[in-house]
Amino acid sequence: MGRLINPEGGSRPPSGPPPEDKVAPAKPALEAASPSRYGRFFDSRVGVLGAQAASIAAVVVAWHVAVRTGVADPLFVPAPGAVAGALGTTASEALPRLGDTLAKAFLGYALAVSLGVAGGLLIGSRRLVHAVAMPYVVAAYGVPKILVLPWIALIFGLGTGTAVITATLFAVFPILLMVAAGTRDVDPTLITAAVSMGATRGQVSRKVLLPAVLPSVLAGMRIGVVFAMLGVLLAEMFAGTRGMGFLMQRMAMAFKASELFAATAVVSILSIVVVLSLEHLNQRLSRWR
């Protein structure tokens, strides 16, 4: 009977026989908890972390040896030691630029989240809007947005405007798509139950739709962060005078290999930290799933 009412006001014929998936859960696939063939040590968390750390260390050592023995040309592949040193020397120049990049990324991200969530809710909740708009959204998502970047740079110049707009453009699509999907997937029975208990439209939106859609919104927001950063960095590399992207382009052109590696490492680690924190936050908020 839950299917008899749907949020858009139409009505559908009653559902058929009860669903079968409730009777037995799907069996887990091949990933059964069989022990590692390399020894029990690797079954534990410590073992895995140890192996990861050891692998990274091994790569660094091999890298160092390769540069030392001349297998790798230090012009193109700087020694690990040199990279570490470069971290210090470039800090004064790089850090403010990094801050600049992050600020632009944050602005673009905020815009993308607002547009993406609002748009996703709209598209996901109304069948007609969904059917009409989706092909365009998917097409826009499928076209590499780099193609639009020169035009944006032409109009907005070589500065913050271009970077923020590009960040918004890159981040808005995945957010919108996730929120739209999440809105569509809200179980109609939940809405029926609330209505039957006397909920007004406002109450249904606040107490049922919002919590139901929240996981998708958060998932979209998590993905959006990387895309926003990507957009800013790309804009800076293509048409920027400030920011990290521009700096890295310049280092590459000047063959400043150690500085470039150092900068790349810093930005990578920063991104990883940000995304991991968001993941952690997501775990905390999703106890009920």
């Binding site: 839950g2 008899l4 014929p13 029975t189």
Partner: protein, 266 residues
Amino acid sequence: MPGGTTPPTPPIVLEAIGKRYETTSGAVQAVDSVSLTVRAEEFVTLLGPSGCGKSTVLGMIAGLVRPDAGRVLVDGTPCDGPNPDKVALVFQDGGLFPWRTALDNVTFGLELRGVPAAKRREIARGLLEPMGLRGFETKYPRELSGGMRQRVAIARALALDTPILLMDEPFGALDEQTRLLMGEWLVGIRRRARKAVVFVTHSLHEAIALSDRIVVMTARPGRIKDVIDVTLPFPRDLNAPEVTDLRAKLWEQVREESLKAMGNPP
């Protein structure tokens, strides 16, 4: 009437209600000319094959579906929308809000009414405890078994203390053993609940075990085929001769309609 008392208004009166749906393959008459009166504290079961419209009838009583023909009277007044003060529902898959604990699910309707928090929780606990769910109030639906989830759903429906309770195949998604146990449990609480109950099922067993009256419905378009009073005392021994007779009689009727629903005329 002697003594000058007026007869009480029956909680539910269905006057020749009907419903058709427009589908992509043409119009479908789901329910046709169903008339029924449900008395106070009476347990009526709608029994019939899948697709016979019994859920639609329930939807019309609940005010979630508007009849195309006839009318529904709840407590004497025509029904034109959900009636949370009079009618509570239990759905087949529970319809529990997954992001709310068991307790918060039960208090949902009370929240909508503006009942203060402490009172809500008190009422909810009072309902969950006799259901054997003490200690599970803070669990999420995902952490509960199917039978527990349905009990929470029933507690949620009872929280609003309505005179009418509608249940749409509430045990349909459960496995056989749990189903039987839940049926027994429901028999146990029905007397205490003191509500008019309309119960939809396709299980003869449940119909016989629980009902004061069984309404057998035909295959689509759903009409009333037969109404059978069951006056046996509770709890009912399902091996007693009267019960086996009744079951045979019911099966004969339901079988005929089930075959029609499956497309083979008898």
